[in-house]
Amino acid sequence: MGSLRDVLSPFTAWKHVIETPVTLKNPIGREAADRYRGFHQNDTEKCIGCGSCETICQNAAIDMVPVDDPKEGDSGLRPQIDYGRCCWCALCVDVCMTGSLTMSNEYTWVDTDPDAFRFIPGVDEKPWDAIAKGYQRPGERMLSGLTRPEMMEMEPEARIDNFDEIVAGYSREQAVLEADRCVECGLCVATCPVHMDIPDYIAAIREGDYDLGTQILYETNPFSEVCGRVCTHKCETVCAAQYEGEPIAIRWLKRHIIDNVSEERRLEIVGTPQVLPTGRKVAIVGAGPAGLTTAYDLARQGHAVTVYEAQDHAGGMMRYGIPEYRLPYDALDRDIAVIRAQGVEIKTGVRIGSDITLAQLKADNDAVVLGIGLHMGRSTRVPGSDAPGVEAAIDLLRRITAGEEVPVPKKVAVIGGGNVAMDIARSMARLQKQKYGAVGVTVTALEDFAHFLADKEEVTESIEEGIEILDARGPQEMVTFKSGKRKGEVKGLRTWKVISIFDDQGRFAPQYDEADEIVHEAEMVVEAIGQMADVSLLGDELTEALQWNRGRIAVDADGHTSEPWLWAGGDSVHGPDVIHAVADGHKLAASVSAMLAAKAEVAK
């Protein structure tokens, strides 16, 4: 038995009878903690419909449902959440790439209808839409990495006196790290002009299955080496990863695959055409990305394809426009070798119009495809632009590639702010370094740095290499020697400060601050303000017969010109860009092939 104290002590509890009860007066609807994980909210403007929330949901509680039409970088889908499944673990919020999906701290939802517990946050109006409290992913906690592994690059001192490739490519470890950041949403696929299966080949990297990766690459693009290096990577601009860090380095990952597959293995994987020859013949003018892609596709279908190239080597602008330090020639050759292996015959050094006429091609073939590119530089047409010492960038680049001797003065001025301007500036800088041990290149661009046309890394690297880049400067005159032995030759470039480039209607009409004038001393002025196609090969008669659209050959959606036997595509039709040219090539091939099939049907 216990003591009397044990018997009496319980009675002290009676003191509570006069105290205020601890009961909550009105518990219904009581506000939850500030960071309570309650019902979902979604900022549908911010949401890109990448579906990461759906993928990560362990309870299969999320469906992606269409609420809008897809746009670039937005699938138009939005998550619909089934509260008959959700367990409020907030993994979806933690993984949300844009941070649009959050949770309010509201938690009371009672309904007699079990089907009512399914809703699209942000679209179906709910009482908690405007609640600011609740769970948001803490900023510093990300489920995926934020930054790309740093690409190993040559230091400026090491790279400036040669044309060796600057970028080393990812190592296996780096590539896996980067591939792991991909959420496989596939938004990039639509944006890529050729719709490469980007998430799939990134997954192949993760698995270490480079053969599969190569196979996926070749399904949509025969220029993996090229695109792995110099693609304009539109895909990276819509990448879901960019909303929380850097976009996935899709281009480098593509290159990583192709770096890990030997040329022989690549030929084995891609193989040769698995169909009987159709007996149809197609001539393609220009061995650039558009022409070669067309050739690759048509050859795979069993057609006999001949490519005519005016230069000594195939590759077009990829070889003659892009400097070697960005795209080594042997890499390009490896891509072309695969295309050749499909039975494509490439006749180099054959100029249409002089060596063989288009009429001849038309007569010998079932179809003719023009992929002639933009090989003529535009001129600024300012005073003195026809003086000796004024060069077209595209022409200079071609001559450097072809191994011709080009003049290398100590001081060079470049007009233009695009990638071609950077290419020629950096190429000239290298030649100067080799010759004089010092760089003396000035780039004057019409645009200011905020609106620069060239890629950021191009600009950064140029500056690293000692190139002077001046933004918002409009060329006014090529200053020439007025007298002396070098009379008429260029001695400088006079530019004015640009106030605005476009007028109110958006037309090109630059305004200058004439007081801010600089004369850039230079013995060579390079114009890099754009290119045009050399359409002289068409001949007068055909030029007359074809329809034109602002100086370019008019084509329909499939690349078919107004002449039934003639197709055209690539840079000359759609402007300069490798990946667009490849896309065009596929389109042309499909169109030509459809026509050939129709012909075969008729022949039967």
Binding site: G29, A32, N59, Y83, C86, T108, D111, F117
Partner: protein
Amino acid sequence: MKDIDKSFKKDTETDFPLREEMRPRKVTTPDGQVIDIDPLQDYFCQEPPKVHRKSYSAIVEGFYNWARANSLWILGFGTGCGAIEMRPLMTPRFDAYRYGIQWRPTPRQSNLLVISGYLSVKTLKRAIRAYEQMPQPKYVVGLGSCTINGGMYWDSYNTIKKLDEYLPVDLYIAGCMPRPEALLAGLMDLKKLIRKGEAEGANRYAENFDWYKANQKSVIKDWDMPDYSW
């Protein structure tokens, strides 16, 4: 979504044998008499549930509904993790008793069956029997995701996904688990339903008895009880 093995087929051939103690047999009584025993027939009532009409007078029915609403007796039967959220309501902090809500230990004295979260097949069997033993009118509240569409046990081999296939549910409360406050809000909503005379789940159960039984039997393989028990 999880990957699924398309070639997987569940075993639909094998019948589960009736348990030994449920089989009909002969028993010798202490005084030497030999009697036949069929537990399924002898121990249980075989009468199906009836549809009970409302009171003839609307005023009386209204008063009754008011009384029913303000005297909710919950069967203290926690089927899943949600039972843990039901307990705070009994504590001084929430004090559900002030709303006329209390917990009863026996289905006979309860009007409300709260299916508190996931319901495994094994528990479903008990829940059905408990529900059927409750006097009419009776109510069922589904607590949490699991009762709505399986919740986090959506791919489990032994929990049911849709509670309304097996019992007539009056009300669902979303959450995993719902907080006690949400549960209390749900009970207040149920009170409104009862007062409006819309909580007639027991009659729905009686009207669609065959459908409910078929659904119940489709998942409970060892059905060794009568179709209706009270």
